[in-house]
Amino acid sequence: MKPTDIENPEYFHKVVDCQYACPAHTPVPEYIRLIARGRYDDAYMINWESNVFPGVLGRTCDRPCEPACRRGRVDEEPVAICRLKRVAADNKADVKARMPAIPEQKNGKKIALIGGGPASLTVARDLAPLGYEIDLYDAQPKGGGFMRSQIPSFRLPETVLDEEVNYILDMGITTHFDHYVDSLKSITDKDYDAIFIGTGAPRGRDLKKLPGREEGDANIHVGIEWLANVAFEHTKSIGKKVLVLGGGNTAMDCCRTSKRIGGEDVRVVVRSPKADMKASPWEIEDAEHEDIPIYENHSPKEFVIKDGKLVGMNFELVEAKYDDNGKRSLEPTGEIVFMECDDVLMAIGQENAFPWIERDLGIEFGDWDMPVVDSTTFQSTNARVFFGGDAAFGPENVITAVAHGHQAAVSIDLHCNGQDINERLNPGVNLVTQKMGFHEWTYDNPVTDDDRFIVPLADKQQALSNRKMEVELGFDLQQAYDEAQRCLNCDVQTVFTANKCIECDACIDICPTDCINFIQNGEEDDLRSRLKAPADNKDQDLYVSTDLKTGRVMVKDENVCLHCGLCAERCPTTAWDMQKFLYTVTKAGKDKEAVAPCTK
């Protein structure tokens, strides 16, 4: 193999599994260390810079970082990254003074944001400090989009959401709430320099063709609409017997909300086997904790109507069969099951819908009637119109919407300045040694043996009786410290300098996870087969040095490295060094920032 190019920022970025997996590339280990040190404000601001809604995401994020966490590969469970983020948000002091200053002198550019959810708010967050004049349109009475209408208050208290939405709205954003934009032309006709569309995927799927759908309409609800109605208090109760159709996170929110506003016998009914449910495992766990049963392999057949009123549903039992390629098909068994109910909530998926966009505005629409959007610049085929969040490529999650928002803001800024939006700046990178002295590093390099700490919950009876009472209590500070110490500090990289190495083997002997090898070079597969310990996780790179004196090379399998620093401690010549790698996604306006003169 060729020697690894550690100058390429993406190499070490990939080693920081959590940050790499995060759509917004939040520097996770960096803020986890700050939490351990009690520096909650700083931890919050690192998050805020990157993901804009730390308090919200610390409660509701889909956490792609956690399945990626290296701790999960060497220990039973990953670090509770998401809930640590919440600790920073809950324990910070007033951070208003640390928010970016908004220039009084505007830059003369005006932009419109359609939809007030995470994607649009992120664009506003990035562009308002640069002097943009921003108009935000949303059909709801308050900002936050789906974060407000879809996420129940018992998972995300309104105060937390308000705080973080207001940090942005307070940047001098002109809001137009209760304003449903029913024509994009009405916006493009105005003098906006750019228009950002972050309207989400607002249409919940329905079972229009199922018998009884029309007759039972009064008690059959589309999940996301129903959740919004509960959030805005248009809906205050539901029948005693509730069937929730669907196996995603919306279904979990629907069933748990039902339990709080009158539902007694609430059931989740899923077509597929339970193992194939789309909901996050922890959300399923939370629903089950509230004694909500999940019925699998039940395919909806009919809404049963009696005297013009919904009285239940018929389901046909199916059996999941998998072909040789692992493709699943649900085969009907012919057995019909009747379940009584007062109300049905359908949470079987969401779709994009753009009935309000005229098709003669130069915005091309492609497959499934989705706009054609560039996946890097988020620009549509109309150079002035940008998309982001669920509106761009279909339903995802909050953190993805934020990531889109940042990139769209970069594009809008370049566009408004007459620059090429494809000429984007590289990420910001910093790599600096952490050595403080003999056996002494700036970070806590010992690896704790603790298992993942469980977030304490509120009393179940109390929680179920109050829709607005938050179920999760969050870690206390001691738990937060202990959980933070489980982090392996994967951003502190093992940097190897071949010409300093005397090949004494000390690093090989000390490495607790057998990552390091000194062997003859070869092709990747061949190298992997000859390493000291199995190296079959090909998603993880091999770090290969240049040739050493003996003609061998150093090969390190990044997969299960604990970043404990023992290789560097045992290295007599500092050929190994532990260096902190900080990777920051470049935000809008960074190209115009004054750069300190190089003093080297």
């Binding site: 060497v74 590093w441 004494c504 607790p512 996870t513 199995p534 045992r570």
Partner: protein, 350 residues
């Protein structure tokens, strides 16, 4: 600050025949200097015991005083051990071995502990052919007392102080061959591919097995003018050949053309298979071994690998005719059979 090794290990660690992973053979975290060759030797001993599937409680680690003699703390943490008086490890090992002949005795010593203060003890333990592995972690200096030249430092070699050593050196391998050791080898801490099979063979050999391992002292004796530095040894090392250890259970299948490969069966039925690099060396001949060592020395080179092997030498127990049952397992009745037996013995002398 860390003097703690994490408890997490590679999730797919191999398991040996008795169900242990390598982690089960680990000891405490080393406190030797970073880069010390001794740590590599410790790791090689650990790896050898793992690969031979030796139960840790069937091993006794014996040592004297010195950097080398600290190392038994750093491997086989679940084995027996005795950190004895400076240079007196052979006596203690002899006592232990006589009391319980069933254990594997691994003696770890240094050049000071063996060739200076312990030279007398060393000579006699070789003569008695005690069944043990005797590993010398040989760095040519007294590392624990700030790096003075030791008795194995080559004449002219200079450590960190920079003054060339005026005295001749003791060659422990030659000495052991002359004194009748059955297994003599030299190796290098930086060459585990050679060292691990040698240790495995030495453990399987019955009788005294010496492995003199050149083990650079990074702190005091890894200088440009030192003959025991990493660079010098790598540049001047010449192996007698490559070396395989073939455990008893493994069927020998590969065929080698005669002349190049020599196979020697050890006392326990396992074998060493040598792919010789030099035709001059006859492993069963002391004279040949000494000649070859000296021949390479004249060229300024270091001959490593197996130097001499005679698997048939009788060990101490055989020479003394001791009971096959370990002495510590003999009961009071067996040791003290009573007045009747005494009388009958006395009768037999009449």
């Amino acid at each position: 600050m860390s003097f703690i090794r994490p408890n997490i290990r590679h999730p797919q660690l191999k398991v040996n025949e008795i169900g242990y992973t390598r982690a089960d053979y680990e000891g405490a975290l080393s406190t030797l200097c970073a880069g010390c060759g001794h740590d590599s030797i410790s790791a090689s001993i650990l790896q050898s015991c793992f690969e031979l599937s030796i139960e840790p409680h069937k091993v006794a680690k014996m040592s004297g005083i010195g950097c080398s003699s600290k190392t038994p703390a750093y491997f086989l943490g679940k084995s027996h051990g005795f950190n004895s008086v400076h240079g007196r490890m052979p006596s203690v090992a002899t006592g232990a071995n006589l009391a319980n002949r069933d254990l594997v005795y691994i003696g770890v010593s240094g050049d000071g502990d063996t060739a200076s203060i312990g030279m007398g003890q060393f000579a006699h333990v070789v003569r008695r052919n005690l069944n043990m592995v005797y590993i010398v972690m040989n760095n040519g200096c007294y590392g624990l007392t700030k790096g003075q030249d030791s008795a194995t430092a080559d004449r002219g070699s200079a450590s960190k102080k920079g003054v060339p050593n005026p005295f001749s050196s003791i060659d422990l391998c030659e000495t052991a061959i002359q004194l009748g050791a059955g297994f003599v080898a030299r190796s290098f801490s930086g060459d585990k591919e050679q060292l691990i099979p040698l240790i495995k063979a030495a453990i399987s050999h019955r009788g005294f097995a010496l492995i003199d391992v050149v083990s650079p002292c990074v702190t005091f004796n890894n200088t440009v003018k030192s003959t025991k530095s990493y660079d010098h040894v790598r540049e001047h090392m010449n192996a007698t050949g490559t070396f395989d250890f073939v455990p008893l259970k493994e069927e020998i299948t590969t065929q080698y053309s005669p002349g190049e490969t020599e196979e020697i069966t050890l006392h326990d039925g396992s074998a060493v298979r040598l792919h010789k690099a030099t035709e001059n060396l006859d492993f069963s001949s002391r004279r040949s071994a000494l000649n070859e060592i000296e021949r390479f020395k004249e060229k300024g080179e270091i001959l490593t690998g197996l130097l001499f092997l005679n698997p048939q030498t009788p060990d101490t127990h055989e020479m003394l005719g001791t009971t096959p049952t370990p002495l510590n397992k003999l009961t009071y009745e067996q040791l003290c059979p009573g007045n009747g037996t005494l009388k009958s013995i006395n009768e037999s002398f009449k």
